[in-house]
Amino acid sequence: MLRLPRFRYLRPQSVAEAADLMAEHGEQAMLVAGGTDLLPKMKRGQMEAEILVGLGHLAELRQLERSDDGGLRIGAGVTLSQIVHDAALARLYPGYVRAAALVSSPALRNAGTIGGNLCVDTRCNFYDQSYEWRMAVGFCMKKDGDICRVAPASKRCRAIASSDTAPAAMALGATVTLVSSAGRREVPVSALYEDDGQFYLAKAADEIIESIQLPAATDWSSSYVKVRRRGSIDFPLAGVAVALKAAGPVIEEGRIVITAVASRPLDVSEAAEPLVGCTLASLLEGQRDELLTGVAASAARPAKPLDNADLHYVWRKQMTRRGVEQAVREAATALLARSA
């Protein structure tokens, strides 16, 4: 049976105190919010920490407020369920809400936070196993070993970026506010990630995500398509987030982010350029199918899925293309409905 290892649990009274505790305890300490990613990983020996600094009880991290520019500032401790059940959010940011709704299960979404979701560990079939399984097969570079079992010639770990909300937030142009004992900074969500399955976060380990800022969504709509075996519980095997801007009948700007096909979410918005100038109607009525197929092919080109997840990697790449087509159509449909 899996058991949690022993550790010390610290309960700070504020984000500032949590930051001080993280600075004080250095590498021995990790942050925990909902615990839905970290605790199973500690039970399987994938993560070790002598000290956990709890964030889940901090009301300060659960605020949701409009910002001056018409956008939204959401505390990192807001749960995925709160996002899913917020009707105003669903109108403004349908792609982000859809991504949150497709994470895990209802019970886990009640506990899992959006801050924890942005930091969710990368995944791999050789890593997401119990300690005993990994020992029997042979440990790998990401934990306890020194080679990559999927790509033995690889100098880095190729585990898969697996957060559903990260690509959706990137497509919206969202930023995060990071707090540590050294100060506070605001960076784009895309700047959180490194193209490395092992050291996948570009932020310092003691930096706490305080909030995520979604910019104003006037004239924008968004969508998220997730590929997986079952309709629930499973992590993405490919994911596509799209945001389109159109004040009237013509697309003015587009963003595409793909995920679960590399070690970080990939912003492939350049591929969306041919969409600019297309009318929403022509796109949806099938007159621009060739253009859309071309957009999808170039958006999926940087996808490099390997044989380390469920389902075949060639199929996952093909589904990334299909996902782009579907996500563009969904965002265009929402914009057209709005202008009608």
């Binding site: 000290i51 299960s105 519980i233």
Partner: protein, 171 residues
């Protein structure tokens, strides 16, 4: 850093479970809620099947919200109202409508998933008494059953809905 910092502190705390305060003594706040419920409080209705959030057999209500007790720390449960499957019947014995429907419809085979499903379904019917089949499927989408194929489970939920509305009509 001295290594005394890594020794977890033993302490006593209270946990409110099924409407009653329970004293947990000489324990660590870093223990799993599921472990505390089963091994320290002797409430073995919540099952530990996967211990990693995948199956929902450990489902409990925390301040009225469905959560997996295996991915939750005791530290996160203090000061909150926990309801386990044992607390779903008003008197603590007998069967609830949902439980009776599961028995009557043959929705129980090996039974390992059953307590978690009973908690999820009771939560659903309290929130959405008239839940559609899609809403039922969504509500139990975190509960894994290896045996039944779910058909009889959905039939049981619908039978419980009927029993509830019949009872309401009689009042």
């Amino acid at each position: 850093m001295t290594n005394t910092t890594s020794v977890p502190e033993l302490l006593s705390y209270t946990l409110n479970v099924n409407g009653r305060d329970h004293q947990v003594s000489d324990a660590e706040l870093g223990e799993n809620l599921l472990f505390v419920l089963r091994e320290r409080l002797g409430l073995r209705g919540s099952k530990n099947a996967c211990e990693q959030g995948e199956c929902g057999s450990c489902s409990v209500l925390v301040d009225g919200r469905l959560e997996c007790s295996c991915t939750m720390l005791a530290a996160a449960a203090t000061g909150r109202q926990i309801v386990t499957v044992e607390g779903l019947t008003p008197s603590g014995d007998g069967l609830s409508e949902v439980q009776e429907a599961f028995v009557a419809e043959g929705a129980v085979q090996c039974g390992f998933c059953t307590p978690g499903l009973i908690v999820s379904v009771s939560d659903l019917l309290d929130r959405l008494p008239l839940a559609t089949e899609l809403e039922i499927r969504e509500a139990i989408s975190g509960n894994l059953c290896r045996c039944t194929g779910y058909g009889r489970i959905i039939a049981a939920v619908q039978a419980a809905q009927h029993a509830r509305s019949a009872r309401e009509a009689l009042r």
